[in-house]
């Protein structure tokens, strides 16, 4: 199963992309990042829809791009399945003809179309035009069209963002099952953490055109590496530290006890895990409770710290909940306080390709 390896430099106006990424052929890799970070541009570079200024792309043993050697395979020779954010279905063709569009020569067209219609539950829609489909149906047609062409790599740009919330879960499952046995590198760009949690085996985080973190999903979520990445991954509480005194971090927001790694440069930020802190009648971090939300399995408390910066904590249903508008003190267990640099300067946070590790 050939993997995909790319080293790319690309610049346009006020945007630059510069990264090195390896994507194995098993499982799904999700790329997260704030808007404008270059996620979509990376997909377009991999597909050959944009040309980097410098770079190298290798699929298995085959070179797709090498600027130094002046090799640049046209998109149609890369055999990349690309799913566009708005799906880019051909409006003048029926669902069946859309799916048949990219079929290789020598394939039994009718049988192949039938297979994908069934696989994605599209059979009753085969003769409809895209304009007569709902968002979720379009999404499935786009996926079927991409997969029917037997791509060597599958790239998806925000595949679920144009779909109603209540359909996403089912579509994510369908997607997962459809690509599970493809045995090709699959890269999915998204800004939705739920997408990542539900479908991704590996997670990459891009910020300002750089790949700041790439690794197995659990590992990345648990150890984001730096505060910017943590925020992208949905960590709610990152507080700037102004001073360290022994094992205590201080800022305009207050102070908490934290464990410092003596080998690390003094962290600029602490992240507070929302699951550990509890209200206390003794000493603790003073907060004002602004809102309490019942989240089903737990209560979410939104608080304001001394400098008005927000803090979110989760309390089990069994604990007493302070009133909104009241002041409280929070006991913050030391293991919930994670010291981080604002921005990691380590040369390579890229997770090594498991095959080469």
């Amino acid at each position: 199963m050939p993997d995909l390896q790319a080293t790319l430099s690309f610049a346009r106006k006020d945007f630059a992309l510069d990264l090195d990424i390896g994507i194995p052929a098993d499982g799904i890799t999700a790329l997260l990042g704030p808007s404008g970070c270059g996620k979509s541009t990376l997909l377009r570079l991999l597909a050959g829809l944009e040309t980097p200024h410098q770079g190298h792309i290798r699929h298995g043993d085959r070179i797709w791009l090498d600027r130094a050697m002046d090799i640049n395979l046209a998109p149609r020779h890369r055999r990349v399945g690309f799913m566009f954010q708005d799906y880019a279905l051909f409006p003048h063709l029926s669902v069946a003809r859309n799916i048949a569009f990219g079929l290789r020569r020598g394939v039994d067209k009718a049988a192949c179309v039938r297979f994908w219609l069934d696989r994605l539950s599209l059979r009753p829609l085969a003769e409809r035009k895209p304009s007569a489909l709902s968002g979720g149906q379009r999404q499935r047609v786009a996926l079927a069209r991409a997969l029917a062409a037997e791509p060597q790599v599958l790239l998806l740009d925000e595949p679920f963002s144009a779909v109603d919330f209540s359909l996403r879960q089912e579509l994510r499952l369908m997607f997962q099952e459809a690509v599970a046995d493809a045995g090709i590198p699959v890269v999915l760009v998204t800004h939705d953490l739920e997408d990542v949690r539900q479908v991704a085996d590996r997670v990459g985080v891009m910020i300002d055109g750089q790949l700041r973190r790439l690794g197995p999903a659990e590992d990345v979520f648990a150890r984001p590496g730096d505060a910017e990445v943590a925020r992208v991954l949905g960590w709610p509480n990152t507080l700037a530290v102004q001073a360290w005194e022994r094992d205590t971090a201080r800022g305009a927001w207050g102070q908490v006890a934290a464990s410092l790694d003596p080998l690390m440069r003094p962290p600029e930020v602490i992240a507070i895990h929302p699951d550990g802190p509890t209200p206390t009648s003794g000493q603790g971090l003073p907060v004002e409770v602004t809102r309490v939300t019942d989240m089903g399995g737990y209560h979410a408390l939104l608080c304001r710290l001394a400098d008005r910066s927000p803090l979110r904590i989760h309390l089990p249903k069994s604990s007493p909940v302070p009133r909104p508008g009241s002041s409280a003190r929070l006991a913050i267990p030391r293991e919930c306080v994670i010291p981080l640099r604002e921005r990691s300067t380590a040369p390579n946070l890229t997770y090594p390709n498991p095959r080469h590790a």
Binding site: A47, A74, P75, R76, F82, F90, F101, R145
Partner: protein, 221 residues
């Protein structure tokens, strides 16, 4: 009361012939140029400028420069005369050239912007699905922007009926030979034959109104 044919014996047929030839030229060149201009090709800006120029440049001046270039002593005309013994000026071909130059931007530009507006993603999708430029043009671009193609062709052909400036200079307004419908109206008014001028104007007006309502149905006006 004189009949329409007696008013301008050859003009009606001549204008229709010019329109027909120009339509064929637009069908090929208009679509090809519209597609080319929508793609990231080298020298695109220059090509775009040359095609768009007649939108602003005065037709009489264009006509004059073409007359100089294609006249017997002009750079192109002299060569044509010497090698092929063919003179373009004051001929049927001159009328076609006049209509083609005047109408080309009206055909190519709407097709270009339709492709840029609604077919860009689709073209890229076709590429990733293994199709080349030519296949993509035929299988995707033309069917998707067909309304803009029809609209562009309508505008271009409509312009050929109304073109006066370049046609006067390059065609010469020779009665019975290069007198188009528009020029016939002018000539009848100069002769004081308002009856004929009115009839010809009505005819031309009806044709144009037909094209006009076609364009409005296409949502392009």
């Amino acid at each position: 009361m004189t009949s329409l044919v007696a008013c301008a014996p050859a003009s009606l047929a001549l204008s229709l012939q010019v329109a027909g030839v120009v339509l064929l030229l637009f069908l090929v060149c208009g679509i090809a140029l519209g597609y080319l201009l929508s793609q990231p090709i080298p020298l695109r800006g220059l090509l775009d400028a040359i095609i768009s120029l007649p939108l602003v440049f005065p037709p009489i001046a264009i006509g004059f420069f073409l007359l100089m270039a294609f006249g017997r002593h002009g750079a192109i005309g002299g060569w044509l005369h010497q090698t092929l013994d063919w003179e373009l000026v004051f001929s049927f071909q001159a009328l076609v050239l006049a209509s083609f130059v005047a109408g080309l931007p009206l055909v190519a530009k709407p097709i270009q912007s339709a492709i840029e507006g609604s077919a860009r993603d689709l073209i890229e999708a076709a590429y990733t699905l293994g199709k080349g430029r030519m296949e993509t043009l035929i299988l995707v671009v033309i069917p998707v922007v067909r309304r803009s193609i029809v609209a562009g062709l309508t505008l271009g052909v409509g312009r050929s009926f109304g073109e006066v400036g370049i046609t006067l200079m390059l065609g010469g307004n020779i009665i019975g030979s290069t007198e188009t419908l528009s020029l016939a109206i002018y000539n009848r008014v100069l002769d004081g034959d308002f009856d004929c001028a009115a009839k010809l104007s009505m005819l031309l007006g009806l044709v144009s109104l037909g094209l006009f309502f076609l364009l409005r149905r296409l949502g392009r006006l």
